[in-house]
Subunit: 399 residues, 2 copies
């Protein structure tokens, strides 16, 4: 009799965006005239850059002609042209990643979820609280025990390692979703040192690296000494270049990184990952890879930068408003998110309802990301400038 993976019974149902959608829908039905401003979901809104669109179309044209048609990609790890482009992008901010350490995928969610396949089920996992739910859920599915590193007001939502805790796998995200906080070089070095000491692996989610503006914040963990011995970096074009619906990401796996085998030997991490992907993945669509390549062309970099700067402009407006109000918050500088404390320590779902009903602004209750978010609230910078300004005007009235 076919039996289910029993670990799935330990998953918490994730009602966050379903529940938001339900409450917003009900409100909209009851208040058809209201002008709702949606700053809840972390999805981009500006279109793909012209250079990216042209590259995607050109690739589809190639696919329609026998002499330029492409079938299976030999390796499934990404075409050389894209791996070289990503490698060049890393060079642009000082990280030296050879193309053969870059693995192209359909996005950071797939990589951060699937990477669990190569870890032993008895590895101890550390996740920050709050965090992107995928890190928790994929490890619950894999039957792993999870301990939480506290991100809270006392540390600026930048959890530090607890040297007394032994761990095997650590998930970090910087700039952080949902809190918008970004690690400094020094803070991240502490995690790298801790991982090296424990022979642990850091799965580092750099999906928001393009939003880093401050010089003391690294855009890649590979800029930290020692990271090549302990870290995998997962990144995505979703936020860098508006690829949330186009789907392309990449992982960086240094050749030095190893996992220990039951027989005491050490196995190269990249070989295990290649074996995993070789059996369960067949590479990213050729037109999508060409579109992704164009992100890193001079025109693509300039055009996608404009969109990131636009979002950062919105984030800056939100940060300025929260500063003026004297509300504790993180983000807004190196991130498209602001994460602020609900007034009077209100429960985040209560504040959600208040913001929805009183000022018609939709955000995300921090409780959806972990217990440390219980009284915090996330707003995104992905709306228009006009709506962002209007939402901040209304927020001032509410506070």
């Amino acid at each position: 009799m076919a039996r289910m993976n029993g670990n799935f019974l330990n998953l918490k149902e994730n009602y966050l965006f379903i529940e938001i959608s339900r409450r917003v829908g009900e409100f909209a039905r009851q208040n058809p005239g209201s002008r709702l401003i949606r700053m809840g979901i972390g999805d981009v809104t500006l279109p793909l850059a012209p250079a990216v669109v042209e590259a995607g179309k050109k690739a589809f044209d190639e696919m329609g002609v026998k002499s330029t048609f492409r079938g299976y990609e030999d390796s499934g790890r990404g075409y050389d042209f894209l791996r070289e482009a990503v490698s060049g992008y890393y060079k642009g901010f000082g990280a030296d990643i050879p193309p053969d350490e870059i693995y192209i995928s359909d996005g950071a969610k797939s990589d951060s979820g699937n990477i669990g396949d190569i870890f032993s089920a008895d590895c101890a996992v550390t996740v920050t609280d709050p965090a992107y739910p995928v890190y928790v859920d994929s490890n619950v599915m894999g039957g792993r025990d999870i301990t939480y590193a506290s991100s809270d007001e006392s540390n600026g939502f930048a959890a530090a390692p607890d040297l007394s805790v032994k761990t095997d796998v650590i998930y970090l995200c910087s700039p952080n979703n949902p809190t918008g906080s970004a690690y400094t070089f020094d803070q991240l070095k502490k995690w790298v040192d801790y991982a090296v000491m424990n022979k642990a692996v850091i799965v580092y989610d750099a999906a928001y690296e393009a939003f880093v503006t401050e010089k003391d914040k690294p855009r890649s963990i590979m800029l930290i000494e020692g990271a090549r011995k302990c870290a995998v970096e997962i990144c995505s074009l979703s936020k860098t270049a508006g690829f949330t619906g186009t789907r392309c990401g990449y992982a960086v796996i240094p050749k030095e990184l190893v996992l220990s085998a039951p027989n005491g030997e050490e196995k190269p991490f990249y070989k295990l990952w290649e074996r995993r992907q070789g059996s369960k993945f067949n590479g990213v669509s050729y037109p999508v890879q060409r579109a992704a390549e164009a992100v890193f062309s001079p025109a693509g970099l300039r055009q996608t930068r404009e969109a990131v700067d636009y979002y950062l402009g919105n984030a800056g407006i939100m940060a300025k408003t929260l500063s003026e109000l004297g509300v504790p918050f993180t983000g807004g500088t190196n991130s498209p998110y602001v994460w602020f404390k609900c007034p009077n320590n209100t429960d985040s779902w209560e504040f959600f309802d208040e913001a929805l009903h009183k000022i018609n602004v939709v955000g995300t209750p921090g409780a959806g990301f972990g217990k440390n978010g219980a009284n915090w609230f996330r707003l995104t910078a992905f709306n228009t400038r006009e709506n962002t300004l209007e939402a901040m005007k209304r927020l001032k009235e509410l506070f």
Copy 2:
């Protein structure tokens, strides 16, 4: 200390296509003047249909305009337009699959590999021998015991269930890769009955369904009575519409299908799959989904049919030659593959070398797909008509 999933140590290295490539490369270097005909790898060669190219380009244009831009797909299960198109395609050959039982993915390899996530590690798995290596490898990674159902000359390479064997999960592929044999309705009904009796799940790979030409062979397991209680169907546009490099597939999961939970309850299979995909997958690229939709338009169906018929024409030429030679074989009728017995029961790698060196034809040694392939050889119909005819002329000389 981070430890690897020890099951990976039980994987057999898959040298098949690496070794073929090595031997062919060496031969080509030593014989620069030879006219090699490559009929080894099961990859399509004809370009995408014009309707498909246009749809992909149009979607990229939409992505470049704010009002038509698409970000995250809400469900990650595929846009309604594509699920409805696939549902309509099934109707065309008599299978009634509602759109909400269709799950769009980046291909059959991803689905057949990832589906293991939702089965218990102690499920017993049955795979045919020979078989597509992904079924074996993904289950070895998941730590499951595998028993083999023998596909061999005695049963026309159409393995039948062994009623004395208890099993939980069964992988079937029809029309089959590598043997080209296709189950009849009656043969497949026996598997369905066996699965229902054992409360087992059949993972049915229908990637080659578009090549079925004979009326007594089903194009979908969902045409068999009882299948909705025991089967998942995985399919792909790779062979149907030349999507090996464009990447799109789909799974059919009937609402009735359940897995048993540790507490004795029954859980709907589709809910477990949605939870898995919800945490580890973010949907298929929008332009690719639009390109896939166009496959099922009247023009797309007509244009992609031409390519399939062209390949079937080549397969027919190969089958005719093997018949004339009196060589035992399967495939060639409902499949782009022919699978034939090496002359004098030669070892398949020996025959590979003989074909390479004496007639400059590259095929695939059956040994790469399981022990029952030790003396069998696969040729594909994906080359040109001219080369296929020439290869058959040479094969006649060899035999």
